[in-house]
Amino acid sequence: MAVKHFNEAEFRAAAAQGGVMLVDFWADWCGPCRMLAPVMDKLAGLYEGRVTVGKVNVDEEPMLAQRYGVMSIPNVVILKDGKEVDRLVGVQPVRNFTEALDRVLR
């Protein structure tokens, strides 16, 4: 399953569906964000059918970024049934994301 690019409406719809969601707040002028892109692809593959993996461009969706208090990117928020349960800020190895997701899925 590919990584989804959310606008505000799509984000709301996905969050309303429930389940576990991992959202990467990013921007194209941010080098570390680009570095995280292959990690998101990998996670989308690893958790296919169990986690919705998506991205939000903070330039295109500033209100969404503000609502989630995004003050530094990359900023990855994990939601369960629409509620934030974990957050990983900055570039991190794949393992940190899988550990966080496994905790939420358990």
Binding site: A27, W29, C30, G31, P32, R34, M35, L36, P38, V39, K42, V58, D59, A65, G69, V70, M71, S72, I73, N75, V89, G90, V91, Q92, P93, V94, N96
Partner: protein, 278 residues
């Protein structure tokens, strides 16, 4: 994709780079501009074998030319973050570079973290103006200038619309007119859930963001899981760190902070990186 990225353009890094070229490897050296190197300011070096009486600047220029002549590629900038994924990815400013192995040779990281810095990292504390600046447009930010290029980063933040205050112990060079400068030594970041102020010598400067700009990102912040010992990167005789594919050399591995020791370690790190890539 390079075979090896060397972080740091001092004696250790350049020695590693030359030796890697000698072994037929492609090498990128990522470093700050040479005048930021502490050796640059050394008026006379008399204990480097065969080349007595040169200034630090002259020595560094010779080392650099040697590396350039051997085909080492250079990129000026700060290594901000690194990640392992089919080799190593490294961000230098807004760019991403890749290699199969890394050599850390960025010297000693000076200055401990400020109170509140770690706790509020990513919640108002940032190390990269070009990365996070846009998120603070029309907001007040404080730049803590601890590197030569910090005034430029502060100017950039002002230019994109941040209300910038510059804090440093010495008068900054090249800070745009209109950006207030506060002279302060003792700093602390304050805030509950996110940054609310920077405390500078006891006086609170209210702000939403604090950009702390040092000469280099500490190796342990760059490479998650990197082991240290008494503040230095832990290595074995082969200059291997605790992380596979990451080697270290020079001042960052410990005393004595001397050119000859750095050059020797650079060579050993290069040979180990070469062996790792086979």
């Amino acid at each position: 994709m390079y075979d090896v990225i060397v972080i740091g353009g001092g004696p250790a890094g350049l020695s590693a780079a030359v030796q890697l070229r000698q072994r037929g490897r492609t090498v990128l050296v990522v470093s700050n501009p040479a005048p930021s190197n502490p050796l640059w300011r050394s008026e006379r070096v008399d204990n480097y074998l065969g080349l007595p009486g040169l200034t630090g600047e002259q020595l560094l220029e010779r080392f650099q030319k040697h590396a350039e002549d051997r085909g080492v590629v250079f990129q000026t900038g700060k290594a901000l973050s690194a990640m392992e994924l089919d080799g190593w990815m490294l961000t230098v400013g807004a760019e991403v570079v890749q290699a199969r192995a890394l050599v850390l040779a960025a010297g000693v990281a000076r200055g401990a973290k400020y109170p509140g810095e770690q706790e509020l990292l990513g919640r108002g504390v940032s190390y990269c103006a070009t990365c996070d600046g846009m998120l603070y447009r029309n907001k007040s930010v404080v730049v803590v200038g601890r590197s030569a290029d910090a005034p430029q980063e502060a100017n950039y933040l002002a230019q994109i619309g941040c209300q910038v205050t510059y804090v440093s112990p010495q008068a900054p060079q090249g800070l745009r007119e209109g950006i207030p400068w506060v002279k302060a030594h003792r700093l602390a970041v304050r805030g509950e859930r996110s940054v609310e102020a920077l405390e500078a010598d006891g006086a609170a400067l209210p702000c939403e963001g604090v950009f702390i700009l040092r000469e280099s990102v500490a190796p342990t912040d760059l490479i998650p899981g990197l082991e240290t010992e008494e503040g230095f990167v832990k290595v074995n005789r082969r200059m291997e760190t605790s992380v596979a594919g990451v080697f270290a050399a020079g001042d960052c591995t410990g005393r004595p902070l001397q050119i000859a020791k750095a050059v020797g370690e650079g060579l050993m790190a290069a040979d180990s990186a070469d062996a790792y890539l086979k």
